[in-house]
Amino acid sequence: MTNSENTAENKQTILNAYVGFDTITQQIEKKSLKRGFQFNVMVVGQTGLGKSTLVNTIFASHLIESKGRLNADEPPRQTTEIEAVSHLIEENGVRLRLNIVDTPGYGDQVNNENCWEPIIKYIKDQHSAYLRKELTAQRERYIQDSRIHCCLFFITPSGHSLKPIDIVVLKKLSEVVNIVPVIAKSDSLTLEEREAFRQRIKAELAFHNINLYPYESHEDEEQEQALNESIRELIPFAIVGSERNVVIDGKAVRGRKTRWGVINVEDETHCEFVHLRNFLTRTHLQDLIETTAHIHYEAFRTKQLLAIKGSAQPSSPTPMSSPATPSTNAGVSPAAGSAR
């Protein structure tokens, strides 16, 4: 009743009968289903860390090939190349166009200076392409979204700390894309080693102020905040991937059979694959797409548009001053003659 200017908007009006506008959610769903969804994920890490295997494990199908050198005749790659693969997958009537961008050659050379530049360039190019389409006079109703929604960064399971190159790249990438770091091939680390490694990595990331997804947002409800907190505790996820099945207790599960035991990829006591998979696909898929658009793309867009505006201004427009000084009007004095 009092200071009602603020509460006026939040005051709910009581309805006298059922209207039925609550079906808008189903209407939206129907339209969305028809349109289908798009998700673009990038994998970054040295060769041999199981990037392709992990992606194939998360999406439960053979989507990308390993780009590792398997033949003596094949020369080692000399630069980071960008390779994108597109797949259409469906689950219960929901169609997802999945684009996977691989970065073979990253970090593999003796001298890795600037091996991250092609990656940053690619990410920015996607933002750029989207911006251009947005700014076109006659633009499409639904712009094809090729912007990278999530970048999985693979950390070598050394058990020690992040490498200098990891830190440089994580810093640069976190400024343009949602980054989710994972500890690759974590089946070579014992549980204690993993935990110690994880804590060290977190300390190093914090020290360098590297901002990882999920970001803090004041709009989140308590439940979401709690979930995000628990995710942040887990990051970097210690994962193991596998496309092959092993038999445990009569059931076929994805895993690895070693000489001393069988690793079950989906067992939470063996690795954190399940957490990563749920995080990416079951809880934060929509949010990843949204934050890419609302945070990273917006930042890019702002910068670009300001830059365009800045270069469009003529060099210091001299004031159309003193309209009535006869001398300036009359004489064609070369000195006064600038602009216009």
Binding site: G48, L70, S158, T190, R259, W260, V262
Partner: protein, 364 residues
């Protein structure tokens, strides 16, 4: 290689001296391997508790450490050279340089010592007899840095490739990985130490032993300095939620066989190849590079006969040095003369030019 055994009997009391180097990027299990081999914490594990240090590129740090081992009653005075920092920088070109420089410095020391008139009987031979290169268990094939390192170092030292942290590979993956690595080594013609044997000259046992070891290359290493309980037995190993790896179990790891090859069966062979082949090659290369090669040749020949000839040698050396100095003097004098001649001819040319110019002006 039969004399190997004979040599052992003779040296049992004195013990052996052996030096090996371990090279590999951070986290491939170098330090743990060395500690497992010596069964004690010889090398400190990398300390990375300070988050402020992670981004610092340290370059490579070459550190030798000495340890005494008892191997079946035989004393081995072991020197282990660790190389932390290799491959961990953004640009690793310099790392190769530094390792090669270290190896060559040890050779230079021996070369200098051999050429001395009075040699130090207790001179410590620090030449590296074997280099264990730890390959990251990617499961694919060799990386550029692997190929480059082995290629650049094998002319100076016996390179033995090993797969570090081999517990991240399943048996099939390991088999394929080993095969591809050996194919790469063959393809790039990298001369690694491959337990050489001669089917005709060596006895059956040696041939069999060496071909078995050769077939194991690169050795799949899993190390551990901790003990775990496996079904009641206390063994060195690593405990995972899905099972336990035993370091000394030959079905799990090639550690045991590498250790015995390195410290007993092939220790002599590695030393001999280092001395008779690698060092000799270096020596030849180096000496043919020096201007007055004849000098050093004499010195090393006569060194064998030092007792009776030491005085004469000294005189000869002094004379030779005087000659050298005289030669240098002459050379310098010649150069001065040449320069003077040049200068005077240039002055002449200048003068004639001036003259012509003057004439031309006059003509105007």
């Amino acid at each position: 290689m039969a004399h190997r055994l004979g040599g052992r009997r003779k040296n049992v009391k004195k013990g052996f001296q052996f030096t090996f180097m371990v090279v590999g990027t951070s986290g491939t299990g170098r330090t743990t391997f060395v500690n497992t081999l010596c069964d004690s914490n010889v090398l400190p594990n990398k300390i990375c508790d300070n988050p402020e240090d992670a981004h610092i590129e340290e370059g490579i740090n070459i550190k030798p450490i000495s340890v005494d081992l008892d191997e079946d009653g035989v004393r081995i005075s072991l020197t282990i050279v660790d190389t932390p920092g290799f491959g961990d920088n953004i640009d690793n070109e310099r790392c190769f340089h530094e390792i090669v420089a270290y190896l060559e410095r040890q050779y230079d020391d021996i070369l200098a010592e051999e050429s001395r008139i009075k040699r130090n009987a207790r001179f410590r031979d620090n030449r590296v007899h074997a280099l264990l290169y730890f390959i990251s268990p990617t499961g694919h094939a060799l990386r550029e840095i692997d190929i480059e390192l082995m290629r650049r170092l094998s002319p100076r030292v016996n390179v033995i490739p090993v797969v570090g942290r081999a517990d991240s590979l399943t048996p099939q993956e390991l088999k394929d990985f080993k095969r591809r690595i050996m194919e790469d080594i063959e393809h790039y013609s990298i001369p690694i130490y491959n337990f050489p044997y001669d089917v005709e000259e060596d006895d059956e046992d040696t041939v069999e032993e060496n071909s078995e070891l050769r077939a194991l290359l690169p050795f799949a290493i899993i190390g551990s300095d901790e003990e775990i309980n496996v079904n009641g037995r206390i063994v060195r190993g690593r405990q995972y939620p899905w099972g336990a790896v035993e370091v000394d179990n030959p079905k799990h790891s090639d550690f045991g066989r590498l250790r015995s090859a390195l410290l007993s069966s092939h220790l002599q062979d590695l030393k001999e190849i280092t001395h008779d082949f690698l060092y000799e090659n270096y020596r030849t290369e180096k000496l043919s590079r020096t201007v007055s090669g004849g000098d050093q040749e004499d010195a090393s020949l006569n060194a064998e006969d030092m007792a009776s000839q030491s005085v004469r040698l000294k005189e000869e050396q002094l004379k030779k040095e005087e000659e050298k100095l005289r030669e240098i003097e002459l050379k310098v004098q010649r150069e001065i003369q040449e320069k003077r001649a040049e200068l005077s001819s240039k002055e002449e040319a200048l003068r004639s030019l001036e003259a012509r110019l003057a004439q031309a002006q006059l003509a105007d």
